[in-house]
Chain length 211, copies 2
């Protein structure tokens, strides 16, 4: 083999390698582009995939994740921007079971590794519209449920308000002062996967311009 032939051989090998790499990278690019998602797609899909999750694995939820979830709650809008809420994160199973005792519907608490209680704070409300705590904490709760879903966790809105007995019970277990109104408890954890989202779209609920 003379020098020229050797050079040609080496060049062919180099060309083969770069072409192979090129094909490989093209496939990778295709894959990344397909899994990439826009904010719009991600948010609309998480809104639709959110479901009430009452069955959890044993995996614990980190304090950091609980903090992120409560931060999402605080980003909700509120009337007169009063932000009339307080959040209690519970990881103690004993407290969750105590809460569960008088909450007929809060079945998620039976085995949840964590729970967040969303409360209204009547010391922060605007006196013109004290009832805004109800809609404001409901919006905060929905933010929390969507954050939970987006983080690969599952949770369920378990009602405390309205219901004097339920609220009184939660007050007692959690040492809530009188100006703190327990809105709901959200048991949460890593879902076992048994619950599936429902398609709740109903064209009859949509009206154009007027009723």
């Amino acid at each position: 083999m003379n020098k020229s032939n050797l050079l040609a051989l080496l060049l062919v090998i180099a060309l083969f390698i770069t072409t192979y790499k090129l094909v490989e990278m093209k496939n990778e690019l295709k894959e990344v582009s397909q899994s990439a998602t826009t904010k719009k797609e991600a948010v609309l899909s998480v809104i639709q995939s959110r479901k009430s999750v009452r069955n959890y694995t044993d995996k614990l939820v980190s304090k950091e994740d609980l903090n992120t979830i409560m931060r999402a709650g605080m980003a909700a809008p509120s009337g007169h921007d009063t932000r009339p809420w307080q959040f209690i994160a519970i990881t103690d199973r004993g407290t969750m079971l105590e809460l569960r005792k008088e909450l007929e519907w809060a079945r998620g608490l039976d085995g949840s590794p964590a729970a967040i209680v969303v409360c209204g704070d009547m010391s922060k409300v605007d006196k013109r519209n004290p009832e805004f705590w109800i809609t404001d904490t409901s919006a905060a709760t929905q933010n929390i449920l969507l954050a939970i879903e987006a983080m690969g966790l599952g949770g369920v809105w378990s009602t405390l308000y309205p219901g004097d007995e339920r609220m009184q019970h939660a007050r007692k277990i959690l040492n809530l002062p009188d100006h703190i109104m327990p809105m709901c408890v959200i048991p949460l954890g890593y879902p076992t996967g048994v619950e599936k989202a429902k398609d709740k779209y109903n064209a009859d609920d949509i009206h154009w311009e007027k009723w």
Copy 2:
């Protein structure tokens, strides 16, 4: 130039081209990977970037987008899964201005290309807990506000409930039957960009285990 040299030259050119393509694709891959976002990141960031937007450009909101937004509202949780809501999409400026007349706080309606009115439907509520329409439609409203933000639009929760006069006015303008409870009107459109999201995180609102 003999044949061998010519071959070597061609191979060098081919090698140069493929290497160039390889570098180009590597940069593209890097860019796509960086702009790609996980569902978690996207949802948490939209929850934080949502803001009350009252200033809009002239660009119209399509019927398809309004439908997508109302679909997001219907994906909210509801007590006893009764889904006690109805939605009215308004694109007629006349109706918006009529609504605005007796709504002191609904400044967004002054120039919004569209609005969505979220209502409770008392014919669908569970008799054990009729008040759930309030928390359920609040959750639906928050879904709508997040969908709006994620779609590059802006909107603002403008209250109708609570407030007998506000609700009566909306009933009249929109021909609502007695069992339909107007919760809020959400003026929306493409934001001019003057409103910025606030960081509302407040560590004092977080409690661990008990109060």
